[in-house]
C-alpha cells in the first residue's frame, strides 16, 4: 500500500527520529512510504489559540498537499484530531482528509489489522494515553495492543494515566503555573510506576513530559511509540 507521511511540524523539527521510525515500521510491513515536501503544519496551534485566519490558510494548503493520496499517516494524535474534527467547520465545507488521515496506531491496528510489528524492546514502559488520542480520535487500546506484542517489553500503568499532562499547546505558556502543576503530578505518577521509559504517540506531549523529566534529572526517558515499534 502507498502511504503518505504527514510528519507534522513538531516531529519534523524536534523529533525526526520518530518520523524515521514511522517510515521504518511501515516499510518493514511491506508498505511504500511517500513524503510530500510541500507539507508544513496542520494549523492546530493557530486554531486553538484563536487565530482562525492563519489556521484556515494552513488547512487549505494541507488539503491541497495531500490531494492525491488515499492513505495518510501522522505520528501525532492531536494533529490528526484537528484535521478530522475541525477542518470541515474551518473550511466551511466538506473535509476531504477526514476519511484518509490516520494516526499511526489506529492505522496499524484498526485499518491494517497488525499488532505485532516484529519489534523487540526489553524495557519497563509506561504508556501515556494522550488526551487527543483517547478522547478525540478514540484509538482505544490500539497503542497498548502494539506495545503488548513487542518482545521483552514490560508494560506498567501509572496512576491517573488518562489525565492530561498539562501541555495543551499555548496553554503551557499562557497558564504556565497550572500547566506545571499538572505536569508535576504526571511526572510523579510516571516515576512512581517504576517505568524506565514513558511512551506516547504525540510529539508535543512528549516534548512536555520529556522536558519535565529532564528538568527533574529523572532516569526515565521519553520515546515516541514509533521508536519503540522500530526497535529490534
Amino acid at each position: 500500500m502507498v502511504i503518505a507521511l504527514f510528519i507534522t511540524c513538531v516531529t519534523d523539527t524536534m523529533f525526526p527520529g520518530a518520523g524515521r521510525a514511522t517510515v521504518e515500521v511501515l516499510e518493514r510491513l511491506g508498505h511504500e512510504v511517500v513524503f510530500v515536501p510541500e507539507q508544513t503544519c496542520c494549523g492546530q496551534m493557530h486554531l486553538n489559540s484563536g487565530y482562525r485566519k492563519q489556521a484556515r490558510s494552513l488547512a487549505r494548503s494541507l488539503v491541497r498537499t495531500f490531494a492525491d493520496y488515499d492513505v495518510i499517516v501522522a505520528p501525532s494524535a492531536s494533529c490528526v484530531g484537528t484535521i478530522r474534527e475541525s477542518y470541515a467547520e474551518l473550511l466551511g465545507g466538506p473535509n476531504p482528509l477526514a476519511s484518509r488521515m490516520f494516526e499511526l496506531s489506529e492505522l496499524l491496528v484498526h485499518h491494517l489489522g497488525v499488532e505485532d510489528v516484529g519489534a523487540a524492546f526489553p524495557h519497563r514502559v509506561a504508556y501515556h494515553p494522550t488526551c487527543h488520542s483517547l478522547r478525540v480520535l478514540r484509538v482505544g487500546d490500539a497503542p497498548l495492543r502494539l506495545l503488548r506484542a513487542v518482545r521483552g517489553l514490560e508494560l506498567v500503568e501509572p496512576d491517573r494515566a488518562n489525565e492530561c499532562c498539562g501541555f495543551g499547546g499555548t496553554f503551557s505558556i499562557k497558564n504556565a503555573d497550572t500547566s506545571a502543576a499538572m505536569l508535576a503530578d504526571k511526572l510523579d505518577s510516571i516515576e512512581g510506576s517504576g517505568a524506565e521509559v514513558c511512551v506516547a504517540l504525540d510529539g508535543s506531549c512528549l516534548l512536555h513530559i520529556g522536558g519535565g523529566l529532564s528538568r527533574r534529572g529523572s532516569q526515565v526517558r521519553s520515546l515516541h511509540l514509533a521508536e519503540v515499534l522500530a526497535s529490534r
Binding site: I7, C9, T11, D12, T13, M14, F15, P16, G19, R20, F35, P37, E38, Q39, T40, C41, G43, H46, L47, N48, S49, G50, Y51, R52, Q54, S57, L58, S61, S86, C131, H132, L134, R135, V136, N162, E163, C164, G166, F167, G168, G169, T170, F171, S172, I173, K174, N175, A176, D177, T178, S179, A180, A181, M182, L207, H208, G211, G212, S214, R215
Partner: protein, 464 residues
C-alpha cells in the same frame, strides 16, 4: 455579576496553597469515583445523554414559545410571573414582594442563579436579611466567603475551619469538629429561622412549560423547608431552565444526580405548581431572568452552554479546576462550564482569559450529561477573545509562525534559524532558560535541543 480578573494570575496564587489542592483532590476524587460507578450501571447512559441534549436544544430553538407557555401555565395555577432583564431588575422584584409583606428577612434555597445576580447584597441594601439555608452556603455566608464549586460551594474548606467559624458566629459553645455536631449547630440556628420566615426565595433546576411546575433538586431538605413553610415564595429562574413537559424530567432526574453527587436518585426532589389552598405558600412569584442569556442564545456555537444542568461533573474531572479551585475563575460558574458560560454572559471582553483556562484535554465533554462540547466552544470563544482583547506581541508571533508555515522553503529556513538561535543560547544542550514568552516554558521544563537534522532534510538526503 462578578467580573473575573486574570485567570493565570488568580490560578498562580491558588496553586501556591498546598492545603487547598489536597482538599480539592480528595473531595473531587471521591465524587468522581462515585459518579463513575453509578454511570457504569446504566446501559443506556449515552442514549440518556443524547436525549438530554436533544430536549435542551429543542427548548432553546423555541424558547420564545416555551416562555410564553410557561407564563400562562404559572398564572393559570395561581402564580405571578415577572420578567427581569438583569440582576438589578430581578433583585428589585424580590425586594418589592418581600417588603410588601412587611418582612425584613428571607430564607433561601441554595441557588446559583441568585448568587449570579448577587441577590443577597441587593436585598441587604433594601434592608432585607437573606439567610442561606444550604449548609455549605451558610458556611460561606457566615464567613463573608463565596462559592468555589457549583455543587459543593465550600469544597475549599475543611471541618476544623468550619468548627472555628461556627464558634465565632452561630454556636459559641461548639468544641468538636465532628460532622454531626457541625450539622446540629447549623440545624439549631436554621430551624428558628425557618419557622419565623414569611418569605422564601429559591432558584430552580427546571421549569415545566406546559404545567408551570417548578422543580428543585437538593440533598438536605433545607430547600424544601424554604419552599413549603413561608407564606410567600419567590423563585428566580434563568430563562434557559425550561423543559417542555413533565415526562422530560424523567431524563434529567436520571442524568443529574448520577453526574452530580454520584447518587442513583436525588434525596429531595421538590415539585410545585402555582399555589394550593391550605398547603404551602399562598402566594407564589416566579421571576424569569435573562441577565445575558439571550446574548448567549445569539451565539450559534456558544449557545450550547445554556444546555448546562449544573451537575459539576466537568469541574470534578477537570485537571485545571482540580488544581486551581473555583475562585480562580472569578465567577459563581467555575471550571470548564464557567470558562464558556461566564465570558458569554458578561461579554468575552470582560473575561478574556477564561476561554484559555483549559488544556483542551476533552475530559469535560466526555462526562457532560447533556453532551456540551466544551472544548469546541472554548476554541470558538478564544477567537472572539483574540479579536476583542488580543495582544500585539502575540498577534505578531502568530503571524510570524503563520508565515513560516506558509511554504516548505520558508519552513525549512525557519527550522534552521530556530536551531541556530537555540544553539547559540545553549550550545546544543537542553535549554534551561529561554528569553521572552518561552521563559514561561523553561521556568518549569527543559526544552530539548532541536534535532541537528530535520526529518525533511534527512528524507531529501537519504530518499531522493
Amino acid at each position: 455579576m462578578r467580573t473575573p480578573g486574570s485567570f493565570p494570575a488568580a490560578a498562580g496564587a491558588a496553586l501556591a496553597d498546598v492545603q487547598l489542592r489536597t482538599n480539592l483532590r480528595a473531595a473531587t476524587d471521591t465524587i468522581r469515583s462515585k459518579r463513575d460507578r453509578v454511570v457504569r450501571e446504566l446501559s443506556d447512559w449515552d442514549e440518556l445523554r443524547e436525549a438530554g441534549r436533544t430536549i435542551k436544544a429543542n427548548v432553546l430553538a423555541r424558547l420564545d414559545e416555551y416562555l410564553v407557555q410557561f407564563e400562562e401555565s404559572v398564572e393559570r395555577a395561581g402564580g405571578h410571573v415577572h420578567w427581569a432583564r438583569d440582576g438589578v431588575e430581578a433583585a428589585a422584584i424580590v425586594a418589592d414582594v418581600t417588603l410588601a409583606h412587611g418582612a425584613n428577612e428571607v430564607v433561601k434555597v441554595k441557588s446559583l442563579t441568585t448568587d449570579e445576580i448577587e441577590l443577597n447584597s441587593a436585598l441587604a441594601a433594601a434592608g432585607i436579611d437573606a439567610i442561606e439555608t444550604d449548609f455549605a452556603e451558610l458556611i460561606l455566608q457566615l464567613d463573608g466567603d463565596w462559592s468555589s464549586h457549583i455543587l459543593v460551594p465550600a469544597i475549599h474548606r475543611n471541618r476544623t475551619e468550619i468548627r472555628d467559624l461556627f464558634a465565632r458566629t452561630i454556636a459559641p459553645t461548639i468544641s468538636s469538629d465532628d460532622p454531626h455536631e457541625l450539622v446540629e449547630a447549623a440545624r439549631t440556628y436554621l430551624r428558628e429561622r425557618f419557622l419565623r420566615a414569611r418569605v422564601g426565595v429559591s432558584g430552580a433546576n427546571f421549569g415545566v412549560a406546559d404545567t408551570g411546575t417548578l422543580c428543585v433538586v437538593e440533598s438536605e431538605g433545607n430547600g424544601r423547608m424554604c419552599t413549603t413553610l413561608p407564606e410567600v415564595l419567590v423563585t428566580v429562574l434563568g430563562i434557559e431552565k425550561l423543559v417542555p413537559s413533565i415526562p422530560d424530567l424523567e431524563v434529567f432526574l436520571q442524568l443529574l444526580p448520577r453526574s452530580a453527587t454520584g447518587e442513583r436518585m436525588n434525596p429531595y426532589t421538590s415539585l410545585w405548581t402555582g399555589v394550593s389552598a391550605d398547603d404551602g405558600p399562598q402566594e407564589f412569584h416566579v421571576i424569569l431572568l435573562d441577565n445575558g442569556r439571550t446574548r448567549v442564545l445569539g451565539n450559534e456555537v456558544g449557545r450550547e452552554a445554556l444546555h448546562c444542568i449544573r451537575c459539576s461533573a466537568c469541574l470534578n474531572i477537570c485537571p485545571v479546576y482540580t488544581r486551581t479551585g473555583g475562585h480562580a475563575y472569578g465567577s459563581v460558574y467555575p471550571g470548564p462550564i464557567g470558562a464558556i458560560l461566564t465570558p458569554q454572559l458578561i461579554g468575552v471582553e470582560n473575561a478574556p482569559s477564561l476561554p484559555f483556562a483549559s488544556s483542551l484535554c476533552g475530559a469535560c465533554y466526555e462526562v457532560c450529561p447533556v453532551k456540551i462540547d466544551i472544548p469546541k466552544v472554548l476554541v470558538h470563544l478564544r477567537a472572539e477573545s483574540v479579536r476583542v482583547a488580543g495582544t500585539r506581541s502575540e498577534g505578531l508571533a502568530m503571524r510570524i509562525a503563520g508565515w513560516s508555515f506558509g511554504g516548505s522553503r520558508r519552513f525549512a529556513f525557519s527550522q534552521r534559524v530556530a536551531r541556530l538561535l537555540q544553539r547559540s543560547l545553549t550550545r546544543g544542550r537542553a535549554s534551561r532558560r529561554l528569553p521572552g514568552p518561552l521563559a514561561a516554558w523553561t521556568r518549569h521544563r527543559d526544552l530539548p535541543p532541536a534535532a541537528t537534522e530535520s526529518f525533511r532534510t534527512w528524507w531529501s538526503r537519504e530518499r531522493t
